[in-house]
């Protein structure tokens, strides 16, 4: 890449005076600008996949509020002075999957997550689609891992006891011309090695999905697209890791590291300072910060917020399949950063719309605003005009963690010997995680062996998660027997999702020790239904307090500090 030329182009296009320099791993940009989207756009202009170099975008954002990371409201010495073979930083899908794959080996493994539960970031706030990978470019890490990861899903979900549905996806063509262009997908699918992609006619798609009958001329069916609950999968990976001997330390934030030029010597957290023979950076939107702590910042993460809307599946005009409109030249121009989102059917039978894509300098800003909701709804309504805005029952935002090259960075650090980066993991990272986590575990084992350490297999490793009882999967007869052995399973606490006290107690006593209202909600859906916890929240709070033997005021919604009650009445 001719840096000087790109510097000129950026100045012409965005008016930013950029100073660009490069070393063997990065292109480093310095300058200043008052518009974050321009800063990101400038950074992208320097991205060059072929060079193998990563953009480090240090153009400063004039007027951007100083934004310090959210830190857990706890300080103790729980982990102080400990020594680990492997420390995984970050409890998203990447970190949890990597920890579980590593638990096959007889190693002392610690996973640190700064929030009170795993899957707190983008892993818990995406649409759960297991992608086929048809829209990905050739020769990228994303494609390599997505096609492999997709094929692993049945096995992984069976082992971990997580629902997975491979219902396929339909890309709708709205004109004969687009349909013709769409045939290029077939060639691409062949080239990418994606099975089960075929064209279907107007009649067939309209029979499958009547909501598109007014404008569809045909569709492409992608059979291998599936759906999984992203946070349930993340939780299951983490739980199986714990069952196989991994230590998961929640509310634990990595604050800094001590390091030499080539080695991390200690990790400093709010729960104490400890050492690790191998550190795996799965820190999501903070992956570049963690790299910097180790003196190894050679890429930048530019946070990208996406909002998803949850539709009432019973509302009028809501589709019942995963569908999206085939991109046209116009829509491709409008937005290159998202695969365009779509309408997704979740494993729970809900319909999700989204996501959109908004560049943001706030890495943890999961707040929603009505402009986002309007944008997502308007966009997906093009694919299903019969949907009504009143059918939206909930919405959430997640912040994705792309690199400027828009590809995964999964590699052993070239500089720091005991550091592995799993960075730039954005959509379809969920699909890819089962595959790349296996590779990352292997890289880690190789790294440990290269230091002379002996790495044996874990003789007690069990890939099957001991999963909690889900009453919904029982016949009436089985359920009757269960209730007779434990009446708690006959006491319904959450009326909307029909969750029993027994299931809630199981969720509270999970292997990760997450005893929060949101933790229960994510594990067993109590409070996720149409009343959104209005009826069951007080009972869930009571159950948590009773199980832990603490006052109600010690029960949190999520992170420490998110209390639900301040104390007993008459006493405050």
């Amino acid at each position: 890449m001719n840096l000087a030329k790109t510097v000129k182009k950026v100045y012409k296009k965005y008016g930013i005076k950029v100073h660009a320099s490069e070393n063997d791993r990065s292109i480093i940009l310095v300058g200043e600008c008052g518009d974050w989207s321009k800063i990101v756009a400038a950074g992208k202009m320097f991205a060059d996949k072929n060079s193998g170099k990563h953009v480090v975008n240090d153009i400063s954002f004039i007027g951007g509020q100083e934004h310090s990371p959210i830190l857990p409201a706890v300080n103790d010495d729980k982990l102080d002075g400990t020594a680990w073979d492997v420390v995984v930083i970050g409890g998203g899908i990447s970190g949890c999957a990597v920890a579980r794959e590593l638990s096959k080996y007889d190693l002392k493994i610690l996973l640190c997550e700064k929030h009170s539960d795993v899957a707190h970031g983008a892993s818990g706030a995406n649409d759960g689609m297991v992608h086929a990978g048809i829209d990905l470019k050739h020769r990228c890490k994303k494609l390599y891992y997505v096609t492999r990861g997709n094929a692993m899903y049945e096995r992984v979900c069976a082992d971990l006891g997580v629902e997975f549905e491979r219902a396929g996806q339909y890309v709708i063509f709205t004109s004969k011309f687009i349909q013709l262009l769409g045939r290029s997908y077939l060639t691409r699918a062949k080239k990418h090695g994606i099975p089960g992609v075929k064209m279907i006619g107007k009649k067939e798609i309209c029979a499958i999905e009547p909501t598109v009958k007014d404008f569809a001329v045909g569709a492409m069916k992608i059979s291998t697209t599936g759906a999984v609950s992203p946070y349930k999968l993340t939780v299951a990976y983490a739980e199986n890791a714990v069952q196989n001997g991994v230590t998961v330390s929640l509310s634990t934030a990595v604050l800094s590291m001590e390091h030499t030029d080539t080695q991390i010597t200690s990790i400093i957290t709010n729960r104490g300072t400890f050492t690790a023979k191998c550190v795996i950076n799965c820190a999501g939107v903070f992956a570049d910060n963690v790299a910097e702590m180790a003196g190894d910042r050679y890429f930048s993460i530019h946070p990208r917020k996406g909002v998803d809307l949850l539709m009432d599946p019973k509302a009028n005009g809501v589709p019942s399949n995963a569908i999206s409109l085939s991109p046209t030249l116009k829509t491709l121009k409008e937005n290159k950063n998202t695969k365009g989102g779509g309408i997704v059917k979740t494993v729970d039978g809900n319909i999700l719309l989204g996501p959109n894509a908004r560049e943001t300098y706030l890495r943890e800003d999961t707040s929603t605003c009505s402009a986002d909701i309007d944008e997502v709804f308007a966009k997906q309504q093009r694919c299903c005009p019969s949907m009504q805005r009143s059918g939206v029952i909930a919405y959430f935002a997640g912040v994705r963690a792309p690199s400027y090259e828009e590809d995964f960075i999964i590699e052993h650090s070239a500089k720091v010997k005991n550091l592995i980066h799993v960075a730039g993991i954005q959509s379809p990272g969920l699909t890819a995680a089962p595959a790349f986590s296996v590779d990352v575990a292997e890289i880690a084992v190789e790294l440990l062996r290269s230091t002379g350490a002996e790495v044996k297999e874990n003789p007690n490793y069990n890939p099957k998660r001991i999963s909690p009882i889900n009453c919904k999967n029982l016949t009436d007869g089985q359920r009757d027997e269960l209730i007779k052995s434990n009446p708690d399973f006959g006491k319904i606490i959450c009326r909307c999702e029909q969750i029993s006290l027994g299931e809630i107690k199981q969720a509270i006593n999970n292997p990760l020790g997450v005893a929060t209202v949101d933790g229960v909600k994510r594990r067993v859906r109590a409070g996720m239904g149409r009343c959104q916890g209005g009826f069951c929240m007080p009972l869930v709070v009571k159950t948590i307090a009773d199980e832990l033997g603490v006052p109600y005021s010690d029960v949190n919604k999520g992170d420490i500090g998110s209390y639900v009650a301040v104390g007993n009445i008459k006493e405050i």
Binding site: Y395, I483, G490, K491, R495, Q532, G534, V564, A565, I569
Partner: protein, 411 residues
């Protein structure tokens, strides 16, 4: 077990229905919670039963009068029991789970008395952070009155529905600071007397045409953003202001609970969000009755019990073929119940509930059958929060015209 009637829901409507039905039928009453009484258990404020008993009872006392009466009947009561499935196979077959296991029951008729639920934050699109400290008024009420804990110290109430007003007073009495009640509509949603005795008595300000547009807080709620709204209830840009608080209580409306009604393919009125019924509380699905707040959201429990009794009374009667004639409304109605008359059954004293869609003064309600006036009543003032009840005698009317019109006009 086989019963004549299964009543689903042990709140005020279900209790009244079961008691009345038990006079001539075998009845099973299924209640979801451990104790009977429904939402009345947590409504410890007074004002219940003024119409029925001429007394100002608290919610639990009102419920207790019915529970005591129920104990004198032969109604089978199954508490902490949750209906998981209902299907029709000749008669109705219900499956429910309870402490003892999975049970089934058969019956000829079902009375739905499933009450209502609250609208949530998502339903009204408040934006912002995902912090704790946001409660529906009902869950705040449960925390304070059942669990005995305080949700927070400094509260903002969004919505002037009755439970919100009641909670404003309740939280104040328990030592919290209630900064204000914010209502997006230009008029209050709750009863006027509640505005006075719950807010004005305690100097709590009521802000109309104002709403909460954003919630701010990393873990616990720290602030809310308040905006004025225009006449279409859209926030007006530039009117935002920030209020510090740790608690937001939402009292933004109630919706009839109709999950089981949906399972039974009961047709629902988009206006009431409850079932379409005839004067006997009989839904369009034969042998399925609906009453109380599951039918339409009432502001007085006395009328909830009344409709429960109507359902209970009529569910006992032998099944006959119905002839349903719609009751058409003209003028500014929010809704009227019943939405139709079964002209084959008694049309003598048809209890009709209605609400105006906006604040109106000097209104005349007239009911005509085939163009002929059979009833009229004047109202000095009609407001949407206050439901009206009239008894209309259709027995002298010629119903063969099948044209029943209720009309609201200025006089």
């Amino acid at each position: 077990m086989k019963y004549d009637i299964v009543v689903i829901g042990g709140g005020p409507a279900g209790l009244a229905a079961a008691i009345r039905a038990s006079k001539s039928a075998s009845v099973l009453l299924i209640e979801r919670e451990a104790r009977l009484g429904g939402i009345l258990k947590q409504c410890i404020h007074d004002g219940f039963g003024v119409v029925r008993f001429g007394e100002k009872l608290s919610g639990p006392e009102y419920a207790h009068r019915f529970i005591k009466e129920l104990r004198q009947t032969n109604v089978t009561v199954s508490t902490f029991s949750f209906v998981t499935n209902v299907c029709k196979d000749g008669c109705y077959k219900l499956t429910y789970v309870c402490r003892d296991g999975v049970r089934t029951a058969e019956c000829d008729k079902i009375i739905l008395a499933t009450g209502c639920r609250e609208r949530t934050r998502n339903g009204i699109f408040i934006q912002g952070d995902r912090c704790s400290g946001i409660y529906t008024a009902g869950s705040a009420q449960n925390l304070v009155n059942i669990m005995g804990v305080m949700p927070g110290r400094k509260a903002v109430i969004l919505g002037s529905g009755d439970i919100g007003l009641i909670m404003a007073r309740r939280l104040t009495l328990e030592g919290a600071q209630v900064i204000g009640v914010y209502e997006a509509k230009p008029t209050p949603s709750g009863l006027t007397r509640n505005i006075h005795q719950c807010l004005y008595d305690f100097n709590i300000p009521l802000h109309l045409s104002t709403t909460v547009t954003r919630v701010i807080g990393s873990n616990r709620l720290e602030q809310v953003e308040i905006s004025r709204v225009d006449d279409k209830m859209r926030p007006i840009a530039g009117t935002e202001s920030i209020v510090n608080c740790d608690t937001l209580v939402l009292a933004v409306g109630l919706i009839p609970e109709n999950e089981l009604a949906n399972d039974l393919s009961v047709r629902v009125d988009p206006k009431t969000k409850g079932a379409f019924v005839d004067q006997n509380c009989h839904t369009l699905t034969d042998n399925v009755y609906a009453c109380g707040n599951a039918l339409h959201v009432n502001d007085l429990v006395d009328y909830v019990s009344e409709s429960g009794e109507t359902a209970g009374e009529n569910a006992c009667k032998p099944t006959r073929e119905r002839k349903l004639v719609p009751v058409t409304t003209k003028g500014k109605f929010l809704y009227a119940v019943p939405q139709m008359l079964d002209v084959h059954s008694d049309v003598g004293g048809v209890i009709t509930y209605f609400r105006a869609s906006e604040e109106l003064s000097k209104q005349q309600l007239t009911v005509t059958v085939g163009g002929k006036e059979i009833f009229s009543k004047r109202f000095a003032k009609l407001i949407p929060p206050e439901m009206e009840r009239v008894v209309i005698d259709y027995s002298q009317a010629d119903l063969s015209s099948e044209q029943i019109v209720m009309e609201l006009k200025e006089w």
